[in-house]
C-alpha cells in the first residue's frame, strides 16, 4: 500500500526517497535575532476572547496563535504548510485517513505534557454545539461530525487516539484542505482540566502550548503576554514580553508610534494619514508592504432582474474603473480581475479578465435589452472609505446608463440584506470582503460562490449556484496527494475562470497590507506581513536594542 509521507515541504521529497516514516528538520531560527526585550502593540477595540475555539477576528487570531499550537502550522511569513505539534503525518491513498505522530515532551503552560487525548478532546469540544464555535463547520469532513453537530453524540467517531503520541482522523470524503484545517486556530490543542476549571471563561484564562503565556489581562486596558520559557521550539520566541494596549484610536496610536512610545499600531495606519506617512522617507522606511488573501468585489444578485442576464453582469464588469477606485484608498490595493487574490495558490496569471471598456459595456447592455440602462440599488457598508468607493462605482455605472442609488448601512444590515434572496441587487463588499481563513483556493468558493452559500442567511450574495461547478469543486478537493497540488490548483483556476464567464461578481481590487513598526523592531519583512498573522508574527520578531 502506497502511503504519502510528509513533514516540512522541503523535507517531504527526501522522506519519500529514503522511505522514512518521519523526517523533520527543526525550523531555522533567525541567527541575527536577539533574545529578550518587550514590545507594545495598540488596538482600538477590546480583545474579544483568547479561546481558540471561539476567537475569530484579526485581532485575536494572531494572539491566539502565539498562545496555542495546532498539529499543523505555516512556515513563518509564508503560506507553506509544516507540521507543528505533529512531528509527521501519513495520508492513506484514498485520501480519507490522516494519521499524525505527535512531538514528545510538549508541555502546556500549566506544566502537563500534551498527548493525543488532548487533540481528540479539543476537536470534540470545538464541534460540540454547546461550545458555540463559529468554526465548527470547518470539521464537517470528519466522520461523526453530523451526529455531534446535531447533539446526538458527545465526540467525533472519526478521531481515534491510537497511542499517547498518535492520533488518527477518518474522513467521510477525501479532503485536500484537511491539513490546512488542522492549522487553523479552531483546531488548536487545549488542556481539558483548564477548560473545565474556567468553563465559559476559558477565553479569559487561556492555557495552551504556545510560545507565549498570558501574564495579565486588565479588562478594557491591557493584555500582557510573557515568554514561555519551556516552549518546545528551541530558540523561540525572541521577545520576553508583549503588551497589547487596548482602547487606542488608530490616529492616537500613530502619534504615539511617532513619539516612540509604541512599536506596532495593530489597527494599521489610519487612511487619513497614509499619504502623509508615505511622503516622509524616514517613516516610509518603517512601513512593510505585502499582499493579502483578500478580494473586494461587487456582487450582482443573479436571481433578480435584470442581473439574471449574464450580459448585464458582464457589462457591469466592464464599466467599473478599478484604477480610480484604488486611488480613493490612496493606492493601497491592486486591481483584481478574478475572485482569487494574486498571492493565493491557484491564481490564474494568464487570465486577463474584463477590460475597462465603456463603449463595449453599453453595447452589451443594449444587447440585453436595456439600451437606456435601468435603475437599481447598490448596498455598501457605511464606514469610510466604503461610501466613497460606492459613489465612484455609482458614477461608473451612470456612464453606461445604470442609475444605482446607494444604500449605505451598518455592516450587520448589509450582511442581512445580502443573505435575503430579494434583499440586495448589488453589494459592494468593502469592509466585509472575503479574507481567506487559510491559503487554499477552495476557500474562496464554497460559502461565497457555491450553491451551499446561496441560502437565506448565507454569504453567497450573488445567489450564484452552478451545480456543474460545485461538482468540479468537490472533484478538485478530493485530490489529496500533496504531490498533485499543482494539478489541483489548475482545476481550481479553471473553476474560477468559469465563474468569471458567468460574472456573478465584478472583482474590484485586492487590498495590500501596510504594517508600520518602530525603528527598534527586527526580523525579516515577511514576518510583518505574514499571510496568517495580522499584524505581525509575534513568535519570530525581535527587538534590536537589547543586550
Amino acid at each position: 500500500m502506497k502511503k504519502f509521507l510528509a513533514s516540512t515541504v522541503a523535507a517531504s521529497a527526501l522522506a519519500l526517497m529514503l522511505g522514512m516514516t518521519s523526517v523533520r528538520a527543526e525550523d531555522a531560527v533567525d541567527p541575527n535575532a536577539k533574545q529578550g526585550g518587550a514590545i507594545t502593540i495598540t488596538y482600538k477595540d477590546d480583545v474579544a476572547t483568547l479561546d481558540p475555539a471561539i476567537g475569530y477576528d484579526w485581532q485575536n487570531w494572531s494572539m491566539i496563535k502565539s498562545l496555542f499550537d495546532g498539529l499543523m502550522d505555516y512556515e513563518p511569513g509564508t503560506t507553506n504548510l509544516k507540521p507543528d505539534l505533529a512531528e509527521s503525518y501519513e495520508i492513506a491513498p484514498d485520501g480519507k485517513t490522516f494519521t499524525f505522530k505527535l512531538r514528545h515532551g510538549v508541555k502546556f503552560h500549566n506544566g502537563r505534557e500534551m498527548t493525543a487525548d488532548d487533540v481528540k478532546y479539543s476537536l470534540d469540544r470545538v464541534t460540540n454545539p454547546k461550545t458555540q464555535s463559529p468554526g465548527a463547520g470547518f470539521f464537517g469532513s470528519i466522520k461523526g461530525y453530523d451526529d455531534v453537530a446535531a447533539g446526538k453524540a458527545e465526540g467525533l467517531s472519526g478521531v481515534t487516539v491510537v497511542d499517547p503520541y498518535t492520533v488518527k482522523f477518518e474522513l467521510t470524503r477525501p479532503d485536500a484542505t484537511f491539513l490546512h484545517v488542522m492549522a487553523i486556530n479552531f483546531a488548536h490543542v487545549v488542556p481539558k482540566e483548564e477548560v473545565e476549571k474556567y468553563g465559559a471563561d476559558f477565553g479569559k484564562h487561556p492555557v495552551g502550548t504556545g510560545a507565549f503565556k498570558l501574564a495579565e489581562w486588565t479588562l478594557g486596558q491591557r493584555i500582557v503576554f510573557e515568554r514561555n520559557a519551556d516552549y518546545w521550539h528551541k530558540g523561540l520566541p525572541h521577545l520576553d514580553k508583549i503588551t497589547f494596549e487596548i482602547g487606542q484610536e488608530p490616529i492616537v496610536a500613530l502619534l504615539r508610534l511617532q513619539k516612540g512610545e509604541i512599536d506596532v499600531p495593530g489597527d494599521g495606519i489610519p487612511p487619513a494619514k497614509f499619504q502623509e506617512v508615505m511622503a516622509d522617507p524616514e517613516q516610509k522606511a518603517r512601513v512593510v508592504e505585502g499582499g493579502q488573501l483578500h478580494t473586494g468585489y461587487v456582487t450582482m444578485n443573479t436571481t433578480m432582474a435584470p442581473f439574471d442576464n449574464v450580459k448585464v453582469r458582464q457589462a457591469v464588469n466592464m464599466a467599473i474603473n478599478k484604477a480610480r477606485v484604488i486611488q480613493i484608498i490612496n493606492g493601497r490595493a491592486v486591481p483584481a480581475n478574478q475572485p482569487l487574490p494574486p498571492s493565493m495558490p491557484g491564481y490564474d496569471k494568464e487570465y486577463k479578465g474584463y477590460p475597462y471598456d465603456v463603449a463595449k459595456a453599453k453595447a452589451l447592455l443594449a444587447e440585453a435589452g436595456h439600451p437606456d440602462g435601468f435603475e437599481t440599488q447598490l448596498f455598501a457598508m457605511n464606514t469610510d472609505p466604503n461610501p466613497r468607493i460606492a459613489q465612484a462605482i455609482q458614477q461608473d455605472l451612470a456612464a453606461i446608463g445604470i442609475k444605482a442609488s446607494i444604500q449605505s448601512l451598518a455592516q450587520a444590515n448589509v450582511i442581512a440584506a445580502g443573505g435575503d434572496k430579494a434583499g440586495a441587487p448589488m453589494i459592494w463588499s468593502g469592509g466585509m470582503a472575503w479574507i481567506a481563513d487559510f491559503p487554499d483556493p477552495s476557500n474562496f468558493y464554497g460559502p461565497i460562490l457555491g450553491c451551499a452559500g446561496a441560502v437565506p442567511g448565507g454569504w453567497n450574495w450573488s445567489w450564484y449556484c452552478n451545480k456543474d461547478l460545485d461538482a468540479k469543486a468537490a472533484e478538485a478537493d478530493s485530490v489529496v496527494d500533496p504531490a498533485k497540488a499543482g494539478e489541483r490548483d489548475k482545476m481550481w483556476s479553471a473553476i474560477y475562470d468559469k465563474v468569471m464567464e458567468d460574472a456573478p461578481w465584478a472583482p474590484v481590487f485586492n487590498e495590500q497590507r501596510f504594517t508600520m513598526k518602530s525603528a527598534r523592531m527586527g526580523g525579516a519583512d515577511n514576518l510583518y506581513v505574514d499571510p496568517v498573522h495580522i499584524p505581525i508574527n509575534y513568535d519570530n520578531v525581535y527587538v534590536k536594542d537589547v543586550q
Partner: protein, 306 residues
C-alpha cells in the same frame, strides 16, 4: 416625606422597566442578526442554528424579554455575544474609570462654569460679560469629538504637557475631564449668571451694601452662597448629559469606561452589552434626578416635596 420617597421609587422602577422594554424591542427589531455576527462568515447554516438555539434567540420576543427580566432581577445581565464574558463583570471593571471621569468632569465644569458665571454677573452688561457668554455658548455647542481632538492635538501632541490618551495617572485625566467639562461649563456659566443677578437684586444685598461692606465681601460672603445652591442642585440632572458624552469622549481618549464599552458593543451588535450599559446609564440618570429632587428642599426651603 416617606410617602413621597416610596412614590418616587416606584416611578423610578417603572421608568427603568420602560427603558429596558423599549431598548430590548428596538434591538429585537434591528434587521441585523446577532447570531450571524457571532458565527462569522465560514459558519454553516447548521452552526448558525445551533448558536441561535443556545442563545435562546429562536424564541419569540415575549419569551426572550421575560427571560432577560427574570435574570435581571437577580442581577444577571447575561453574557456578551462577542466577548463571551459576563456583562456585569465587564461593566463593573469599567465603572471606576467612568466614575473618575465623571468626578473630573464635574470639577472642571463647576470650576470653569461657576467662575465664568460669577464674573459675568458681577460685570453684567460689559464686554467681559458678553465675551464670557459667547464663550459659554461656544462651549455648549461645540461637538465634543472636535473639542477632544483639538485639546489632544494642542496639549498632548504639540506641547507634550499631557499623555496622548490612555488611563492611569492624574495627567491622563485632565484632557478628557476638560473636554467633558467644557460642555457643562457653558450651561453652568449661564445658570450661575442668572442666579447671581437674581441674588444681587435682593434686599439683603442692598442692605449689606448700605452698611458699607466691601464689594468683595458682599459677593463672596452674602451673594455667592445663595446663588450657588440652586446651581449645585443641577448636578444630579447633569448625569444624563454626562452619560451621553462619555460614549464620545472615552472613545477619543481611549478611556476604559463604560462609554467606550457601549460604543464597541454598538458597532458589533453585542446586544447584552448594549442592554447592560443602557440600563446602568438609565439607573444613574434616574438616581441623579431622585437625589437632586430630594436635596432641593434642603437647599431652597421654598421647594416642598409632595
Amino acid at each position: 416625606m416617606i410617602a413621597y420617597l416610596g412614590r418616587r421609587l416606584i416611578q423610578s422602577l417603572l421608568i427603568l422597566l420602560g427603558v429596558s422594554l423599549i431598548t430590548f424591542a428596538l434591538l429585537y427589531l434591528l434587521p441585523a442578526d446577532p447570531v450571524r455576527q457571532i458565527a462569522g462568515r465560514s459558519a454553516t447554516p447548521q452552526t448558525v442554528e445551533n448558536i441561535r438555539q443556545q442563545l435562546g434567540l429562536d424564541q419569540p420576543f415575549v419569551v426572550q424579554y421575560w427571560r432577560y427580566l427574570t435574570k435581571l432581577v437577580s442581577g444577571d445581565l447575561g453574557r456578551s455575544y462577542i466577548q463571551r464574558s459576563e456583562v456585569t463583570e465587564l461593566i463593573v471593571s469599567r465603572l471606576p474609570a467612568s466614575l473618575l471621569l465623571m468626578v473630573g468632569a464635574i470639577l472642571c465644569e463647576l470650576l470653569l462654569g461657576l467662575s465664568m458665571g460669577l464674573i459675568a454677573a458681577v460685570r453684567r452688561g460689559t464686554a467681559t460679560d458678553q465675551t464670557l457668554m459667547v464663550a459659554s455658548f461656544v462651549g455648549v455647542s461645540a461637538p465634543q469629538f472636535v473639542v477632544g481632538l483639538l485639546l489632544l492635538y494642542v496639549f498632548a501632541v504639540r506641547l507634550s504637557w499631557f499623555p496622548i490618551g490612555g488611563y492611569g495617572t492624574w495627567r491622563h485625566l485632565v484632557l478628557p475631564s476638560l473636554t467633558m467639562g467644557i460642555l457643562g461649563a457653558g450651561w453652568y456659566a449661564r445658570m450661575m449668571r442668572s442666579s447671581m443677578i437674581d441674588v444681587l437684586r435682593q434686599d439683603y444685598v442692598r442692605t449689606a451694601r448700605a452698611k458699607g461692606l466691601a464689594r468683595r465681601a458682599i459677593i463672596f460672603r452674602h451673594a455667592l452662597p445663595n446663588a450657588i445652591l440652586p446651581v449645585i442642585a443641577m448636578i444630579g440632572i447633569d448625569i444624563g448629559i454626562f452619560m451621553g458624552g462619555i460614549v464620545v469622549v472615552e472613545s477619543v481618549f481611549g478611556w476604559p469606561g463604560i462609554g467606550q464599552l457601549a460604543w464597541q458593543a454598538i458597532q458589533r451588535v453585542d446586544i447584552p452589552i448594549i442592554m447592560g450599559v443602557t440600563l446602568v446609564s438609565a439607573f444613574a440618570i434616574v438616581l441623579g434626578n431622585l437625589v437632586a429632587d430630594i436635596i432641593a428642599p434642603f437647599i431652597d426651603p421654598r421647594i416642598k416635596l409632595r
